[in-house]
């Protein structure tokens, strides 16, 4: 196994570097996408090492810094001000990033995997199984996701795990429908018919021949969806059925700050801005990805040469 990994590495090292170079130059060509990528990189670093660096400043109570306005005198930690218990807002945003991202990643991964598997089955098998799966999907989609989430969370009780499950359930239909549509299209292609004729098992046909075709589409949707999940999660936390104290996400920080909005606007403003910037970066990168993977539009990023 190690040998195998090693050998593919050496085999690909030449072309891969130049491919990375191409990707980077395509990224550089779109300045918005460059900024978005840099912001997300910064965010990833904050999620990984943030709690180690400023974890102490995000907990505890410090009445001296209660609702402290944004300032420079108290050191860089209070550059965005302090919250209702005097904790540094900057530190709390950095630490909160981990929970916010963690919930979103878990929800998106769960919904992509579940949706893709069900979509593969529905698209490949067809018939009654497909009908039942599709009607269930219609049922989920025909009702506002936030209300479904609210009812389920109210019954199950708000916890991180339940939040992930609820968010995943509301997003599954998108992946399921896309996968099913693409599988049905791919199933009729010659190479799939050939594989079936040569005696490949359904599992082999699906995972070896069909999944590689569906995967890029799913990943592009996931990037946009990731932004939507962050916003939905923060909305649920805002309504009081999301993350509960002492855990906190950016959404619950906005909700807490709402009570102090007239006297201390910074409590709500910065975490909300963090949500906006993250979602915006993801959306910008997703639209960049669409251009890069579309041969008809790619020239726009390749030195502006246009041949009509």
């Amino acid at each position: 196994m190690t040998y195998l990994v090693e050998s593919t590495k050496t085999m690909n090292s030449g072309p891969r570097r130049s491919r990375l170079g191409t990707v980077l130059s395509l990224l550089w060509a779109d300045k918005f996408a460059t900024f978005a990528a840099l912001f997300l990189l910064l965010l990833m670093i904050a999620c990984l090492v943030g709690p180690l660096l400023v974890g102490d400043a995000a907990g505890g109570i410090n009445f001296a810094g209660r609702n402290a306005p944004p300032q420079l005198e108290k050191g860089f930690l209070y550059i965005l001000g302090g919250d209702n218990l005097g904790r540094s807002l900057l530190a709390r945003i950095v630490v909160g990033a981990q929970t916010t991202m963690g919930v979103a990643v878990a929800a998106v991964v769960t919904s992509v995997v579940t949706g893709a598997l069900l979509g593969l089955v529905a698209g490949y098998r067809g018939g009654l199984v497909s009908d039942v799966i599709m009607r269930l999907t219609d049922m989920i989609m025909s009702f506002p996701s936030l209300l479904t989430a609210l009812v389920v969370l109210y019954v199950l009780g708000p916890s991180v795990a339940n939040l992930v499950i609820v968010l995943a359930i509301t997003r599954i239909p998108v992946y399921l429908r896309t996968t099913r549509a693409e599988v049905m299209e791919a199933r009729s292609r010659v190479f799939v018919t050939a594989a079936i004729a040569m005696g490949a098992s359904p599992a082999r046909v699906l995972f070896r021949h069909i999944v590689p075709i569906v995967l890029p589409t799913l990943l592009t949707i996931a990037a946009v969806d990731f932004a939507a999940v962050i916003i939905t999660e923060s909305g649920l936390s805002f309504l009081g059925l999301g993350i509960q104290a002492p855990d906190f996400t950016w959404g619950s920080m906005v909700a807490t700050g709402r009570n102090y909005i007239a006297s201390a606007w910074w409590l709500s403003f910065w975490p909300g801005l963090a949500i906006t910037l993250t979602a915006l970066s993801l959306n910008i990168l997703a639209s960049w990805l669409r251009i890069v993977t579309d041969p008809q539009q790619r020239w726009r990023l390749e030195g502006g040469r246009k041949d009509d």
Binding site: M141, S142, P144, I231, G235, S268, F269, L280
Partner: protein, 303 residues
């Protein structure tokens, strides 16, 4: 046939939804703890349960619920002591007015901005509009609502913070509710308009000397509306998500806030009635969108 099949499936989905809601809402706990004083005796609680039929086995409760539904009796609200359907139908027009105006604004704005952006992909106008619509699609609505209240209601005092009334009360809720649909629709219009503008029939129109405004808004727009209408259907269901938030922040007496309050108060009948009303509204909307599809696309009409 397609229409008939679709309506049948939607009715089935609605039945499934009501089934789910019935059992889920009864799992949220005993309503007697919310409606009777804390020091009520166990006998009082029992009497309360018996009065409202909560002490029967759940299958009996469900059977009674279905029979009542067939008689168009949707139960009584525990907290307001009147028909749950009346309460839901009273709240619904408030949401309908708000949501349809917001959707119309988002639609008009998205078509205008998306078409302008698509005229020169990659140009200055396109970049500006793209960034603006992407930002619209990326902002959490409750945050925008709070910040706008802070600026325009608390600091400047130009607009009321919440409530229902004259035009001034409509400005902030409408803006917040229209923002995300505008952003999402704007992207879709732009994409499909770029596709339509590079098609042969548009080149023909240019060749015969039609003006650019006419080409964009007459020739290309009609064809690029199809994906927009598909997205608009999903969007309308999601608009109710926004309505829940907007109605909560701005104290709008619509169905979203009614449902949240009912969930919190374990007012089962009101939850069920308002879900039924919402589901019916979405069903009607989907039928309207199907009709719009047929009007716009002759291929569907003749299929």
């Amino acid at each position: 046939m397609r229409f008939f099949k679709r309506s049948l499936f939607t009715l089935l989905s609605m039945a499934g939804l009501l089934l789910l809601v019935f059992f889920l809402s009864r799992m949220t706990g005993d309503p007697s703890y919310l409606f009777l004083p804390l020091d009520a005796s166990p006998a009082d609680r029992e009497a309360f349960s018996r009065l409202h039929g909560f002490d029967d086995p759940i299958y009996l409760q469900f059977g009674r619920y279905v029979v009542d539904l067939l008689h168009l009796d949707f139960g009584r609200s525990l907290s307001q002591q009147r028909s749950a359907m009346d309460i839901a139908l009273e709240a619904f027009p408030h949401t309908l007015k708000l949501a349809s105006t917001a959707l119309a604004i988002a639609f008009a704005g998205a078509i205008l901005c998306g078409s302008l952006a698509a005229r020169k992909p990659g140009g200055v106008v396109d970049r500006l509009i793209s960034v603006f619509s992407l930002t619209g699609a990326s902002t959490p609505d409750f945050w925008v609502a709070i910040i706008l209240v802070l600026i325009f209601a608390v600091s400047l005092g130009w607009l009321p913070t919440s409530g229902v009334g004259g035009p001034a009360y409509w400005v902030l809720p409408l803006f917040v509710l229209a923002l995300r649909p505008f952003g999402l629709l704007g992207q879709v219009v732009r994409g499909s308009m770029i596709g339509a503008l590079s098609s042969p029939y548009v080149k023909t129109a240019y060749a015969k000397g039609a003006s650019q405004t006419k080409i964009v808004f007459v020739h290309a727009l009609r064809n690029s509306m199809l994906p927009v209408i598909t997205v608009a259907g999903d969007l309308a269901a999601n608009l109710l998500n926004g309505a829940v938030i907007v109605e909560t922040v701005f104290g709008w007496p619509g169905i979203g806030r009614l449902m949240i309050d009912a969930i919190m108060q374990r007012d089962f009948a009101v939850i069920q009635a308002s879900i039924l009303v919402t589901a019916c509204a979405i069903l009607i909307l989907n039928i309207l969108l199907d009709i719009a599809y047929v009007v716009l696309d002759p291929r569907v009409r003749h299929a």
